[in-house]
Amino acid sequence: MTLLSVENLSVTLNTMGGPARAVRDMTFTLERGETLGLVGESGCGKSMTALALMGLLPETARASGAVRLEGENLLEYSEAAMCRVRGNRIAMVFQEPMTSLNPLHTVGHQIGEALSLHRKLGRGEAQKEALRLLEVVGIPDAGKRLGNYPHQLSGGQRQRVMIAMALSCGPDLLIADEPTTALDVTIQKQILDLIRNLVNDLGMAMILISHDLGVIAQSVDRVHVMYGGGTVESGPTAAIFEHLSHPYTQGLFAAMPKLGQRAKRKDGAKRQRLNTIPGVVPELADLPAGCTFAERCGLVTDECRAAPPPLTSVAPPAGNASSGNASAGIAPARIVEDHFAACVHLDEARARLNSA
């Protein structure tokens, strides 16, 4: 049975400016052992999607659609029932390891609590298990660390502790919301490797949320590129990275600084500026009727503004499979039937990319 199936999930926030549609018609499925990435800029609805899955939306928010965990719609669960799902079947790792731990309790105590809550372990057993988990997540001198308070640990170690807590009850699904954003680059890699290995070893499913395309490229099987609360492009990671289809995805990639960009300056050429996507993210309370990206898109026509474009399959561009700007190390995508993009001008978009 499909582990997680999200159907037309929408989240509406009641704000001063009227209802804001933070998430619009998100639909995806996730099997055990599968990993999914949600990528997009701030305010695109990535974190709201995660909170909706956990049932932790702010009180002013209303979710509609369905979030089925092995067939059961979590949106219909009571708070008490959700408490048994959270941490137990779905676990979450947050962005800020600095603030995600209670400063007043020791690390051992906090991991132990999670264990006693869902696995009903006694105190001694819980501490033994906590020690094992700290070793699993690669904290050196784990025995000593159990008695430490969060402020005595570094950011990377704290994030490892958070991961240990998330793993403590053997969840089916791990949601990692920007797990490496607050860490420095060398630690980022270690934490990502750790998460990836644990997901592989334990056969969990994972949803990784990030605005960092590099992180996404390395870590997940499938990607949803989100914009304005909805999916604009989805598909296997390799396929998306090879055939950037939606103008927004193309813009995101173009906005990544590339190695060697500065070198051109030495040749006397004008210093190349970082590409940006013109315009700003639309106000969620006042989304356009048509494509949410229309106002920032170079290919915009009246058709775009008329109605939201449906997600349509991206046919493999004939004959020029190698002309995309695939990142090194990603195998060329062969099956692209399940690569979708929500754009009515896909052909033009791709043509523009290839000519660039």
Partner: protein, 281 residues
């Protein structure tokens, strides 16, 4: 202040904490001592020996009934402390419970609890205490209850504000994501994180309760004679203020020193408990 100092070291280095501690300690010590020993029986009159000047036998002299003033002051401390402990206990228990409830449930619960405490804040506390005592009758117990009831909204509001700030922190979201319910989060995460605020407010409320009790006794609606009480000593001394001003000075000093001590202690505790807030002194 160095980060590596232990709790005790931080306490000793904090001047207002030490001063407040000594004064409050003296208050408690004297009250405890008076339970088992006072120089004289504080309620035994000796009309022939009234208005005696300080002697070795009566260190602070005697009052208009010839009672030993030192003994009355010492026993009066008992009264003040009892009132303080019980009244603040009432306020702390109900106020913190209501504040935590408001913060955990939000929505209507929060609205109702907070509007009720706003309602109580709108009345002058002493006036309402007088009204309450007037309807249910004078006496130490009623005074305590009245003072206690009026410290409930203080604690409720403080607790709710501090708790809301903790609820908004990320580790609470992480705790919720770990499947903990509201009650468990309140006990494990919210309460421990607001204890320092509550401790400070408790000492300050304690001082206010002592003041309030003195005021009610001064008005004759607090503890009734012959129970020694600083407030009543003041009101009795008032009529003789020109004859023998010292009668008013002693209880006045006792009240002032207790309140000062408790306020200094509260101030010091705030710094000492939470080293992050510590200021250089």
């Amino acid at each position: 202040m160095g980060a590596n100092l232990t709790f005790v070291q931080r306490c000793i280095r904090h001047r207002s904490f030490v001063a407040g501690g000594i004064l409050s300690g003296a208050l408690v010590g004297i009250a405890l001592l008076s339970v088992v020993w006072t120089p004289h029986n504080p309620i035994k009159m000796n009309i022939r020996g009234r208005f005696a000047d300080p002697t070795w036998n009566h260190l602070l002299g005697t009052d208009q009934f010839g009672r030993d003033i030192l003994s009355i002051i010492m026993s009066g401390a008992q009264n003040s402390i009892t009132v303080g402990v019980v009244a603040v206990g009432i306020g702390l228990f109900f106020g913190v419970s209501l504040g935590l409830l408001a913060s955990a449930r939000r929505g209507w619960w929060e609205e109702i609890i907070m509007r009720m405490s706003d309602f109580m804040f709108a009345f002058p506390a002493i006036l309402l205490a007088i009204m309450l005592v007037a309807t249910i009758g004078p006496g130490a117990v009623n005074a305590i209850v009245a003072i206690g009831i009026f410290s409930i909204p203080v604690f409720a509001r403080l607790t709710r504000g501090a708790a809301n700030a903790v609820w908004a922190r990320e580790f609470v979201l992480a705790a919720r994501a770990a499947g903990k319910g509201r009650f468990r989060i309140t006990v494990e995460h919210i309460l421990p994180n607001i204890v320092s605020v509550l401790v400070v407010q408790t000492t300050i409320q304690f001082a206010l309760a002592i003041l309030a009790e003195a005021a009610l006794s001064y008005l004759g609606i607090g503890s009734q004679p012959p129970t020694p009480s600083w407030g009543r000593m003041l009101s009795e001394a008032q009529t003789m203020i020109f004859l023998n001003p010292w009668l008013a000075v002693y209880p006045g000093l006792a009240i002032a020193m207790s309140v000062l001590g408790l306020n200094l202690l509260g101030d010091g505790l705030r710094d000492v408990i939470d080293p992050r807030l510590a200021r250089e002194r």
